[in-house]
């Protein structure tokens, strides 16, 4: 079996997500990077689902839907936190609790 | 708040939406799951009439025909025109800005105008401020095209309220 092009995409998305998480530490960029990584993971699950001989395996498909909803919900919470940070900075300029 | 947000207005909107959505359901499913479709259509219509009621327009049949014809013709010619310019080695273009005075008043007709202008040969509506539409043009005869579109839309609707402003 040769290299599946989509396997390249899955691996690249994970690698780039990993890189982005470390290289761009701003929270908003990290949320983007995390979701790119997650998309790579989901892509590899879909690829794994394809290797069942008769028809796609729906167990990984279900896992992807669950994972997607969890990742998006957690990201939404993270974005709310980022907006909260912006509010904090605006209310008391020059002070952060970092 | 104008009288247009009254009960009768909302009811008309709800019924129209429900009927349209039922048709949409039929197209989507081919007639299966009708109870679900009916419930969904009624619920969606109720929510829509409660939260965001719109105006129901009755298009004039002839006006509709004229508008659809113009729309399809413009789409095709617009595509061909811009495609020809793109493929032409010299890229013949006269990019410039035009301010067009709009006479249509109702938001829905204005929306339709903006959408159509974007697909008309050589024109692109970039902003609407008051009655002035800022149009980006790349062809020579633009004002005529815009007037033709406006006339077609004006002929499309029976203007029941919102009198003409000169």
């Amino acid at each position: 079996m040769g290299v599946d092009v989509f396997a390249i995409a899955a691996a690249a998305l994970m690698a780039l997500g990993f890189y982005g998480f470390v290289a761009q530490p701003h929270p908003l960029r990290r949320i983007l990077a995390i979701n790119i990584f997650g998309n790579g993971v989901f892509m590899s699950m879909i690829l794994i689902a394809r290797w069942l001989p008769d028809g796609p395996d729906t167990v990984p498909h279900a896992m992807v839907i669950t994972g997607l909803v969890i990742a998006v919900s957690a990201s939404a919470f993270g974005l709310a936190l980022i907006r909260r940070q912006a509010l904090n900075r605006r209310s008391e300029p020059g002070s952060t609790d970092d | 708040m104008t009288s247009s947000s009254g009960i009768a207005h909302r009811l008309t909107w709800a019924l129209t939406v429900a009927a349209t959505l039922m048709l949409l359901w039929l197209v989507l499913t081919g007639g299966k799951g009708l109870p679900y479709g009916l419930t969904a259509a009624l619920l969606a219509a109720a929510i829509s009439a409660w939260v965001a009621p719109g105006m129901v327009f009755t298009p004039r049949p002839l006006g509709l025909l004229r508008f659809v014809g113009l729309f399809l013709y413009n789409s095709l010619v617009g595509g061909a025109d811009v495609g020809w310019r793109a493929m032409h080695p010299a890229m013949p273009m006269q990019p410039r800005w035009i301010d067009y005075q709009l006479r249509l008043q109702h938001p829905a007709s204005r929306t339709l105008f903006l959408l159509t202008v974007n697909l008309t040969p050589g024109t692109l509506a970039a902003n609407l401020h008051g009655d002035t539409v800022r149009v980006h043009a790349i062809t020579a005869d633009t004002a005529g095209e815009l007037a033709r579109v406006e006339a077609a839309i004006g002929a499309l609707f029976v203007e029941s309220n919102g009198g003409e402003v000169s």
């Binding site: 470390v22 998309n39 879909i46 069942l52 | -």
Partner: protein, 313 residues
């Protein structure tokens, strides 16, 4: 032909992902991220996963996309600048580059080395479809074979919502001075025309979930999308207090799901096992209530508020 399409698609995806993590302008990064989501939907449709294509487009690209853009709007110029220029030091970036390249290569090798495995969960799922109360295998896994995961996932969504509410930083869509929406009737008119249709599409997707691509999550996300449209068009506003109906809808799915599971323990001997005669109606009730709760949870996660109120216009 399709192979060429796949290659182009993958190439574009990788290029865009590269842009998304390296570009300095955060607005561009967000737009690129949304495009990646849409292309992923395309890729997953190609990989025989239409359900996931729908879910990715509705949830991953659509909902997360508007959330990202809304958050971007809430930042001021200094913070937007910081998003691109706050970078790890060069050695750390190099190390991360090497590490992630190695990780990616390892993943590629591992993914390529995998092959089929007879008798796995996937085959069993297909073989037991008759007993699942639904014809659609993905729905069967989500709502029956592994329904426990789905129920707990509803808990995750609820907890994320509690977290977002605790932030008390709602997304507001009052028009700013610079974008006077009154002059462009486009947004309100289109919202009025499209929201009902999107609502119907949401119900259609839930309904279709029993036999074709779709399901509670895709449908729920679409319903939430209609709500997002109404919020963007100024027809719905988030408010800090909550009505009883909102709360009831919010937990409807979780409570119905848990109650069905717990009440049937004495009958069936296991949590979430359903009697064969009633399995179809039970699944139906669960699916619709889940869709409603998902829709409302996602919408409130979007607005970041406890409740919703009708807009004035």
């Amino acid at each position: 032909m399709m192979a060429l399409f796949d290659v182009v698609l993958v190439f574009t995806l990788v290029l865009l992902a590269w842009r998304c993590v390296t570009v300095t302008d955060v607005f561009r990064a967000i737009v690129v991220f949304i495009v990646i989501g849409l292309l992923l939907g395309l890729a997953w449709a190609r990989l025989e996963a239409p359900d996931l294509a729908l879910a990715e487009t509705a949830i991953g690209a659509g909902l997360l996309g508007v959330l990202l853009l809304g958050t971007w709007r809430a930042l001021d110029a200094g913070e937007r600048h910081a998003c691109g220029h706050h970078r790890a030091p060069v050695p750390a970036r190099w190390l991360a580059g090497i590490g992630s390249a190695g990780f990616g290569l390892a993943m590629l090798v591992a993914l390529t080395s995998l092959d089929g495995h007879p008798g796995g969960a996937g085959e069993l799922a297909l073989n037991n479809l008759d007993a699942a109360g639904t014809e659609q295998p993905v729905t069967a896994v989500l709502l029956n074979f592994r329904s426990y995961d789905t129920l707990l996932e509803m808990g995750v969504v609820l907890m994320a919502l509690i977290g977002a509410l605790l932030c008390r930083a709602a997304l507001t869509y009052q028009p700013r001075a610079e974008d006077v929406t009154v002059d462009t009737p486009l947004v309100p008119v289109l919202v009025t025309a499209f929201a009902p249709a999107v609502l119907l599409m949401g119900v259609y997707l839930v309904w279709a979930g029993t036999h074709s691509p779709g399901g509670a999550f895709q449908g729920g996300a679409t319903l939430a999308g209609a709500g997002v449209l109404l919020v963007l068009g100024g027809r719905l506003h988030g408010v800090p207090h909550t009505a009883l109906i909102t709360r009831a809808l919010l937990i409807l799915g979780t409570v119905v799901f848990t109650a069905a599971g717990l009440l049937l323990i004495p009958l069936e001997g296991a949590f979430m096992a359903y009697p064969a005669d009633f399995i179809y109606p039970i699944m139906l009730v669960i699916e619709y209530s889940l869709a409603l709760s998902i829709a409302l949870s996602l919408l409130l996660l979007f607005t970041g508020t406890h409740g919703l109120r009708r807009g004035e216009s």
